[in-house]
């Protein structure tokens, strides 16, 4: 009977468990979870503050998930070091766990920027965990003026989540636009307008140079008063377990297409890894929930002796603010085809007869058909791309495709 250990208890860990159990019903599975909680949906912490979900609904898997899958969870403990030679992982309390196969699914940690005077800010928060969300909520009053550093996905989702719980929100970012890692300036302007209509204020191309108590002095010289601070400038992959054991790491833990690290019997999955983005050919950390689960599942299947490969990953995102949805995928490389629509914009990027990426704001109906062109590396001359550009549908794929997909089991 195999002895499996999983470090971390997020979406990637669930993927590992379900992957292992698809092949091995009997092996022993132990999860080491720093957070003292049943697995929940990390992206839902902002929806929780907004009142769109609750602690029970936001569980990623039902309450009996571990029991049903024969999983032992060690709550509230961290793995501190890994010894791949003796196949042991050492926990914070000194306890050692033996393993046959281990998966590091440790996610990432918020990066707190080193800003002068930061320690003097009394109410200061990150926005990564349910504990963070609860602590932030406890500090907010209807009179709160909140400063959020970082206009990326996490900072903006946080802003949306707490909008109804405070008086004023200012978001600043060194980048000159919102969502700078996924949007160009035209598209970012559309989203910024929506966020401003919701009542969020922005200071872009500017960031805090120092804090004087509850006053932030910006690089531009402006002073922003606040009483609650949220830092959301970015996250760092938790690579240290593998790195200090001598495994290869970059910005994330290096994994191959089977989610193996360079250490024997050590796998890794989710936000703590870096892997190949097929649209750019570059290895990168792609910290998104779908990939965390899919990578975890791939790792789990291989840990249990199966043979599963993942070679079609790329970054993608779906984010919405007050009903205006924005989807992005892949790389913005090659020729750009643009369509302006009533509610937004559509940009498709093509190169070498392939769709490489897209940004769609507003009319996102059936966008997954575009995503599948990227995922499957569909040669664009094998479909009626002129028709597809205007509106995603299955007609442009032709009869043979339809016979297979609509007439068979897939």
């Amino acid at each position: 009977m195999k002895n499996y250990v999983i470090i971390g208890n997020g979406a990637a860990a669930v993927g590992v468990i379900e992957g292992i159990r698809s092949l091995d019903r009997d092996g022993k599975i132990t999860v080491v979870s720093r957070e003292n909680r049943h697995v929940y949906c990390r992206p839902l912490i902002s929806y929780l503050l907004e009142g769109k979900t609750d602690e029970n609904l936001m569980l990623y898997r039902p309450e009996d998930f571990y029991e049903r899958n024969g999983v032992k969870v060690i709550y509230g403990k961290s793995a501190e070091s890994l010894d791949p030679k003796s196949k042991k992982v050492i926990l914070g309390n000194g306890e050692a766990l033996d393993y046959d196969e281990i998966c590091i699914a440790a996610g990432s940690s918020p990066f707190v920027p080193p800003i002068e005077g930061l320690e003097s800010v009394k109410k200061r928060h990150s926005f990564m965990t349910l504990d963070d969300a609860e602590a932030l909520a406890a500090d907010l009053t209807p009179d709160s003026e909140v400063l959020i550093i970082g206009a990326g996905l996490i900072g903006l989702k946080c802003a949306e989540g707490i909008l109804g719980r405070c008086k004023k929100i200012t978001v600043c970012d060194l980048a000159p636009r919102v969502l700078s890692s996924i949007l160009d300036s035209d598209c970012a302007a559309i989203m910024q307008k929506r966020l401003e209509q919701m009542g969020i204020e922005f200071l872009l191309g500017d960031t805090v140079s120092r804090f004087e108590g509850e006053k932030a002095i910006m690089q531009s010289g402006a002073a922003v008063g606040f009483d609650v601070l949220v830092t959301a400038v970015g996250v760092r992959a938790n690579t240290s377990l593998v790195k200090s054991a001598g495994g290869e790491t970059g910005r994330g833990i290096s994994v191959d297409t089977r989610m193996r690290t360079t250490l024997p019997s050590v796998y890794a999955a989710g936000d703590c890894t870096e892997s190949l983005d097929i649209t750019s050919g570059v290895k990168k950390v792609m910290a998104i929930m779908p990939l965390a689960y899919i990578q975890g599942r791939c790792a789990g299947i291989n840990m249990a002796g199966g043979d599963e490969e993942l070679n079609n990953s790329f970054p993608m995102n779906s984010i919405g603010f007050n009903g205006l949805h924005c989807m992005s995928a892949g790389s913005y490389d090659g020729d750009c085809w643009e369509q302006k629509t009533e509610r937004g914009i559509k940009r498709l990027y093509t190169k070498d007869n392939l769709l490489k990426g897209f940004i769609i704001i507003g009319d996102i109906d059936r966008a997954g058909i575009y995503t599948s062109l990227i995922r499957n590396k569909t040669p664009l001359d094998s479909v009626d791309f002129e028709l597809l550009k205007k509106s995603p549908s299955l007609a442009p794929f032709g009869k043979a495709f339809r016979d297979e997909k609509l007439g068979g089991v897939i």
Partner: protein, 143 residues
């Protein structure tokens, strides 16, 4: 498992399946009251390719990428059927971003909607198939 399969050469392009779907999932008992003067948002959609028409609904994929991608755990697979928990769904539309066939869509209640083979409404079997005048969609087990 029984799924809905398409026989495109028999499809008349009459869109009746769309209306039957919208009615089946409306919660109303009267078709006129359910659909009159409303823009319907069905889970099956009739497309056209020149002279040919065909109806597209969820394939109930054996490796459902929508389920694997859902950020809230709202999409699940039970006995092969992919269903949506409207209370858990937060409407992020990640499933819309990943479904290769365009078979999940935004609904009016803030969650998404998709075909559940009419097993979670009062009809009990696909209303689209039941009402198709030319057997252009069939509900059967092909493995």
């Amino acid at each position: 498992m029984k799924r809905v399969y398409v026989n495109e050469k028999w499809c008349l392009g009459c869109h009746l399946c769309e209306y039957n779907c919208a009615f089946a999932n409306s919660g109303e008992s009267d078709m006129v009251r359910a659909l009159r003067k409303k823009k319907i948002v069905p889970n099956i959609r009739v497309e056209e390719d020149g002279e040919i028409n065909f109806a597209v609904s969820c394939r109930h994929c054996s490796e459902p990428i929508c389920v694997k991608s859902c950020i809230s755990g709202a999409l699940t697979k039970t006995d092969g059927m992919i269903s949506i928990d409207h209370d858990k769904c937060v409407g992020c539309l990640t499933c819309v971003l990943v479904c290769p066939y365009g078979c999940v869509r935004e609904s009016e209640n803030g969650a998404v909607q998709k075909c559940e083979l009419c097993l979670n409404n009062t009809v009990g079997e696909p209303a689209c198939v039941k009402g198709c005048p030319n057997r252009a969609i069939i509900f059967e087990d092909r493995g």
